[in-house]
């Protein structure tokens, strides 16, 4: 544990920590471009210069390359170090284009920040700037090579971290070019992270091109709803439009990155056909009236067909808070069934797995990254939960062996095929992890877990809150909708954010749908009440390992400002709720329903 002094502050760090990280640990920022906590050091940009005043090493050194040693005395504010950094910025500015006003990175650009902080000002170079031709890299990522400061982060991330092979660096000296060897869409399913990782505006989010500036963004910590991994994100919104999603750091879960599926999934939130108003019998209504009508219909169905004729149907994409309220609603309306799944198969698979996962047996993504033996058992991580495949690759990079049990899949790393689980030497591994999905045999896995104390499993559930709703299923004895409809007793359903297959929908005379997506269920429903998407409310999801993660409200619900007024600019009208902003979080709607029912039962109007 070497002890050293940085800017008169004594700090003790673990062996192998670089000076840059040691300084960060005591909140001393040192500018850097090429170093990244996930990618390690490169020593290419030379902007992290510090002056070592005393100790085993002396003079100007690069803080990201030098491991901390006992007795070092470091100054980050020494005039020589500051001058070195100023010169590096000056050198980078020699070829940097005059793009800031039209560059999307402006406001969140590391080069801008370090230029101001470093003190470089007037241009002393009298020559011309080198230019590059851009490439088309697909519909998601914009390429503007003039702005490149050659930090090599993109190619280190893409090739080393993500295992991609179609993108790299070409050329030499000042002509180095970071692009795809053949022009075309980037192949890696993690290519979107190039946008986060590039310190300048070379790679920007094309879907959010020319929309807003960093200082105007509405942002809040959130969780990706794309799969059951629950990677942490920061969605970015402006003027009631979800512009883009940016990865948020969580060392235990996704690390520093997210997959493209979760990053470029904004269209559902901004979709013009989203349910924005309450609809009763194909006529637009308001939420209050729709709730009242719903109560009347529930009452009518009860009178007509007796108790047990209504089913309350949730789904595994609803937030946990709303899911918790469903049993209460079911109780009050004497529902015939409480469902969190639509098909019988889904239901049985989920229940058996929930038993299996408990503290200590479930593997987080960090556990997978640090594992030394990974078994992919009957699932396809790259397609089912892409970031899990990324985690497997990191384990492989550190020397782990990856086994795939007789299954035709691709992974961004090398793996060995084995016929059965028994062929894998689990006992010899220090931190083995089995990754499977719900089609796996839980008995077999249970036996393995008992037999190997260090073994962990990572079952990939299908949706964001599958695990959370599965816990509720177990607690309240919920059944699948398919089972509920089997005996023909159910005459009506209240569906909350559920996707019911057409075959089942056809059997139900009355459907009330509370949802934020224009699904087939919403089309078929007699009563529709709009709910909020995950970015428009606070809530939580419980991911596949049983980790509850909270997401916060990023934006208000409502029709995006863009296109509201035919004249092009926003309307000159004062109002207290946004156009189309009546949507409420599902839990609030359920709470109102429950309260209305309680008031009704107590004889209140």
């Amino acid at each position: 544990m070497p002890k050293l002094i940085i800017d008169d502050i004594t700090v003790e760090v673990a062996e192998g920590t670089t000076l840059l990280e040691a300084a960060q640990s005591v909140d001393i920022p040192i500018p850097h471009f090429c170093w990244h906590p996930a990618l390690g050091r490169a020593g290419a940009c030379r902007v992290c210069a510090v002056k070592l005043l005393d100790g085993p090493v002396k003079g100007i050194q690069m803080s990201c390359m030098l491991p901390a040693q006992e007795g070092m005395v470091v100054s980050t504010t020494d005039p020589e170090a500051v001058a070195m950094r100023r010169h590096v910025i000056e050198w980078l500015m020699i070829n940097h284009p005059h793009d800031c006003p039209v560059c999307d990175e402006g406001g969140e650009c590391q080069l801008q920040d370090y230029t101001i902080a470093g003190g470089h000002g007037i241009r002393r170079y009298s020559g011309k700037k080198r230019t590059h031709v851009n490439q088309y890299l697909g519909p998601y990522i914009e390429h503007e090579m003039n702005r490149c400061i050659q930090c090599y982060r993109c190619v280190r991330y893409y090739q080393e971290y993500a295992g991609g092979t179609d993108f790299g660096v070409m050329g030499s000296a000042g002509r180095v070019y970071f692009g795809r060897f053949q022009e075309g869409q980037l192949e890696s399913p993690f290519s979107g992270n190039l946008v986060d990782i590039c310190p300048t505006g070379v790679f920007t989010d094309k879907t959010a091109r020319f929309r807003a500036r960093y200082w105007d963004y509405d942002m809040a910590p959130s969780v990706c709803p794309g799969c059951s991994l629950g990677c942490n994100t920061t969605p970015v919104a402006r003027y009631r439009e979800l512009l883009k999603t940016v990865a948020r750091r969580n060392d235990a879960v996704n690390g520093w990155f997210i997959c493209d599926r979760g990053r470029f999934a904004n269209s559902a939130v901004n979709a013009p056909l989203r349910p924005r108003h309450a609809v009763v019998d194909s006529r637009e209504s308001c939420v209050e009236d729709a709730l009242d009508t719903l109560l009347l219909r529930i009452h009518a169905l009860g009178e007509l067909h007796g108790p047990g004729s209504i089913a309350v149907v949730g789904s595994s994409r609803m937030a946990q808070e709303a899911a918790e309220l469903l049993p209460q609603l079911a109780l009050r309306i004497a529902a015939g069934a409480l469902c969190y799944r639509t098909t019988r198969k889904e239901s049985t698979e989920t229940s058996s797995f929930v038993e299996l996962v408990h503290t200590g047996s479930s593997a987080s993504q960090q556990d997978v990254r640090k594992s030394d033996c990974i078994v992919v058992y009957g699932c396809d991580p790259l397609n089912e939960a892409p970031m899990m495949a990324m985690a497997i690759r990191q384990a492989w990079r550190s020397g782990a062996t990856v086994y795939v049990i007789e299954h035709k899949i691709t992974l961004p790393c090398e793996f060995t095929l084995r016929a059965t689980l028994d062929d894998v030497p689990l006992a010899e591994a220090e931190r083995p992890v089995i990754i499977c999905n719900l089609s796996a045999e839980t008995d077999q896995l249970d036996k393995l877990l008992e037999g190997h104390s260090r073994l962990k499993i990572a079952p990939l559930f299908p949706a964001a809150n599958s695990f959370g709703t599965a816990l509720l299923m177990r607690e309240h004895g919920a059944i699948s909708l398919e089972e509920a409809l089997a005996d023909g007793e159910i005459k009506g359903i209240i569906s909350i954010e559920a996707d019911i297959p057409a075959a089942l929908l056809g059997k139900i005379p009355f459907v009330a749908a509370l949802d934020w997506q224009a699904t087939a269920t919403v089309q078929a429903a007699q009563i529709v009440i709009p709910t909020t998407a995950w970015v428009e409310m606070n809530g939580s999801y419980i991911n596949y390992e049983g980790r509850a993660q909270h997401f916060s409200k990023v934006m208000n619900p409502g029709v995006p400002v863009k296109g509201l007024d035919p004249a092009g600019h926003p309307p000159h009208i004062h109002r207290s709720t946004a156009t189309g902003g009546e949507a409420l979080p599902a839990r609030q709607l359920l709470a109102r329903l429950i309260k209305l029912l309680d008031d009704g039962n107590r004889g209140l109007s």
């Binding site: 284009p97 005059h98 793009d99 800031c100 006003p101 039209v102 402006g106 406001g107 011309k128 700037k129 080198r130 230019t131 590059h132 031709v133 503007e144 003039n146 702005r147 070409m170 050329g171 000296a173 002509r175 070019y177 692009g179 091109r209 020319f210 929309r211 807003a212 500036r213 200082w215 105007d216 003027y239 400002v561 863009k562 004249a567 092009g568 600019h569 926003p570 000159h572």
Partner: protein, 176 residues
């Protein structure tokens, strides 16, 4: 005697008043006579065009960020040839304090202040000026500058033909 000093005081006051009758008044009889402000007087804001006739404003949001009273808002958009422009641009003149920080911040010399101070109106909603109310046909105070000639994104000229640019690098070329 006291009456003499009292008389002197009275006469001095009346003399000063009498003197002022013949002094030139400084009041300008507005609106029949108008004072002409200097060209750099900070009054109504306009959005200017570049010498080639295109809109200068690239909706970079710097004026909006600089404005101390948050009276400017805009929506950037992408136009023909990759040109960044303002889809809509709104200045709320009821809020504007005419400080000129927006003009100082603008990197393309688009937003400028004119000496036109006569913009008052009866309905306060008329003080919200949209882009069509702000855009003028001329270059304003700077006749030469076209930002896109200096930017690297090749909107008004092909890549490598900008004011300080070399021709684009041939990545596949082997010559040093």
């Amino acid at each position: 005697m006291k009456i003499f000093s009292d008389m002197t005081a009275l006469m001095t006051g009346m003399w000063i008043t009498w003197k002022h009758i013949f002094r030139r008044p400084v009041t300008i009889q507005y609106p029949e006579q108008r004072r002409q402000p200097y060209p750099r007087y900070r009054a109504r804001i306009v959005l200017t065009r570049d010498p080639e006739g295109g809109e200068r404003c690239v909706a970079c949001q710097l004026c909006s960020a600089a404005c101390p009273v948050d009276c400017i808002s805009m929506q950037p958009a992408e136009g023909d040839g990759g040109r960044r422009y303002a889809e809509w641009f709104r200045i709320n003149f009821a809020r504007c304090i005419f400080c000129g920080l927006c003009a100082e911040a603008c990197p393309t010399l688009a937003i400028q202040m004119t000496p036109d101070y006569e913009i008052c109106t009866r309905d306060i909603m008329n003080l919200i000026y949209e882009k069509e109310d702000l855009l003028i046909d001329g270059c304003g105070k700077s006749a030469d500058y076209n930002f896109y000639r200096h930017a690297g994104i090749a909107v008004t000229q092909p890549r490598g033909n900008g004011a300080e640019e070399l021709p684009p690098v041939d990545v596949r070329g082997l010559m040093p």
